[in-house]
């Protein structure tokens, strides 16, 4: 039951994201894309767990001296 609910939620999220991106995914391609999407979500969750969002400095941008 949980698995079905999770799968339905995953499908719903996937469909919404594809629609937002303006993509039309043929039905026969959805199954393989859903697997890849689920796997990607797991990896994304890992990133968010690894580094708390409020931990500073974020260190993603550095001003360099003009040459």
């Amino acid at each position: 039951m949980m698995a079905e609910a999770e799968e339905a939620r995953l499908r719903g999220e996937f469909d919404a994201l594809m629609a937002r991106a303006g993509l039309s995914i043929p039905e026969e391609r959805r199954a393989e894309l859903l697997i890849a999407f689920a796997d990607l979500r797991t990896e994304i969750a890992r990133l968010h767990e690894a580094l708390p969002p409020t931990l500073e400095p974020a260190a993603v941008y550095r001003v360099e001296r003009a040459r």
């Binding site: 999220e13 996937f14 994201l17 594809m18 937002r20 991106a21 303006g22 993509l23 039309s24 995914i25 043929p26 391609r29 393989e32 894309l33 697997i35 890849a36 999407f37 796997d39 990607l40 979500r41 990896e43 994304i44 890992r46 990133l47 968010h48 690894a50 580094l51 969002p53 974020a58 260190a59 993603v60």
Partner: protein, 469 residues
């Protein structure tokens, strides 16, 4: 083609060309004959530029005869992955979407090969747009592994690995965003060097991921790779990622050995990885043992979890890759190969918050690797965790990311090189990966050359082609 010719190193062929005991035309004709003998079953080339090759060779012969010396690559055959623009020659990215694309100018790397007097044999198979694969629904078949054509070459520089292992060229260009140079090198038993981010210009090479793409060579030997790097490396002010850092003489320290060098092994990266086979694990340990015997100090080190590197690499790759293809995905999704869609379209699901988080982790992880270099000259880790799988093995959508441990150093930008160390019982190559300080490709070449010698790889005969006993 005589076995003697295709086994000649770039340096040795160059010496014979200068001594006038060999001509560039003879080398080119031999390579073209070898393509004719094996392209129909191995498919490394999507386009053979026979007329161009013979013209390049004739020019090289005339120049050498007239006393002009363009350096060690003068008169040497090579081939380019088919995402490198070549003026007047189709550059298809192995895709239906680019079949009619004929660039008006050379990519920077292609131009450097021309300036060095190389002889262009043609354009090499790749996974479509350098991702996905092996695929059978594209305009060209996938390259096959010369060590066993039922097995995968790795990718995406699949034709580059296959062309070298088949003895057609000693050097080919590749590109590497998550392992696309080092993977085919590992599976095909060649050397594959992903230079430091910014070391080789990417201008004129079709992008997969703007901040992860690296151009570099695959080569039959470490010395061949050093010669190729010498001509490929250098600052390009028109590539915003290009670094203005002096290029050293890559061959100068090749034979310096490893005595006194400190090599760190991030063992947790590979030791408990489910995909690691006993043979691949034993090959890594043998290489470590040989390096120790030769005087290197080898010690285990700890880096952050490999899965974190892989996840950040994948999120950035897919977000940037999706940005490259977004318009075409909307307009022509079904013109792409199935695996390309499967790999790249999930990029549409990455949010701004995900990408920001990956960028923050990227800095943290790069700092952690840099710290390891405070007390080590190089790192040694796994390349492939197993020999090349069969082409018909069921594809796992995650397979491009997990069993091959390359993406970490695309993320951090450190130079990394796959070096063969032996053959598995099934006759397929095994390898290790070396990682260096930023812009210290010379150290990787030095250690790689030692590994080539210490493991006996330099004496391993390459697979015979049809008609060769």
């Amino acid at each position: 083609m005589s076995a003697a010719l295709h086994d000649l190193s770039v340096a040795e062929a160059g010496r014979r060309l200068r001594a006038r005991t060999l001509t560039a035309t003879a080398l080119a004709e031999a390579a073209l004959a070898r393509i004719a003998a094996c392209n129909a079953h191995l498919h490394p080339f999507v386009l053979v530029t026979k007329e161009r090759a013979l013209a390049d060779a004739a020019r090289a012969d005339a120049e050498i005869e007239a006393g002009t010396d363009r350096g060690p690559f003068h008169g040497i055959p090579y081939a380019l992955k088919d995402i490198y623009d070549t003026a007047g020659i189709a550059t298809t990215c192995h895709s239906r979407l680019r079949l009619d694309h004929v660039p008006v100018s050379d990519s920077v790397v292609a131009a450097r090969f021309v300036a060095a007097g190389g002889v262009l044999l043609g354009k090499l198979a790749t996974h479509e747009f350098a991702i996905g694969g092996p695929s059978f629904d594209l305009p060209f078949p996938p390259a096959r592994n010369p060590w066993n054509p039922e097995h995968f070459t790795g990718g995406s520089s699949s034709g580059s690995g296959a062309a070298i292992a088949a003895g057609i060229v000693r050097v080919a260009s590749g590109s590497d965003t998550g392992g696309s140079i080092r993977g085919p090198a590992a599976y095909c038993g060649t050397v594959g060097l992903k230079p430091t981010y910014g070391r080789v210009s990417r201008r004129g090479v079709f992008p997969l991921s703007y901040t992860l793409d690296h151009c570099g060579p695959l080569a039959r030997s470490v010395e061949d790779a050093a010669i190729a790097m010498q001509l490929m490396a250098g600052h390009d002010p028109e590539d915003p990622g290009s670094a203005d850092v002096k290029v050293p003489d890559y061959r100068a320290g090749l034979e310096a050995g490893v005595r006194g060098l400190r090599i760190g092994v991030p063992r947790a990266f590979f030791a408990k990885a489910p995909a690691l086979t006993d043979e691949a694990g034993a090959a890594i340990e043998r290489a470590i043992s040989r390096l120790r015997d030769a005087g290197a100090e080898v010690a285990d080190i700890t880096l952050p979890d490999q899965a974190l590197f892989a996840a950040a690499n994948r999120v950035i790759l897919l977000a940037e890759g999706f940005a490259v293809h977004e318009q075409d995905f909307r307009a022509r999704l079904l013109d792409y190969g199935r695996k390309t869609v499967e790999r790249l379209v999930p990029g549409a699901a990455i949010t701004a918050a995900d990408l920001v988080q990956a960028g923050r982790l990227r800095r943290m992880l790069a700092d952690a690797v840099n710290q390891a270099f405070g007390s080590h000259d190089a790192l040694l880790t796994a390349s492939s965790l197993a020999p090349a799988p069969r082409l018909d093995q069921p594809a796992d959508p995650r397979a491009a990311y997990s069993p091959l441990q390359f993406g970490a150093f695309n993320l951090t930008g450190h130079p990394a090189m796959s070096v063969p160390v032996g053959l598995a019982a099934a006759g397929l190559p095994l390898s290790v990966q070396l990682v260096g300080r930023p812009f210290d490709e010379a150290m990787l070449l030095r250690i790689g050359r030692a590994i080539e010698r210490l493991t006996g790889w330099e004496d391993v005969p390459f697979p015979a082609m049809p008609g060769e006993g």
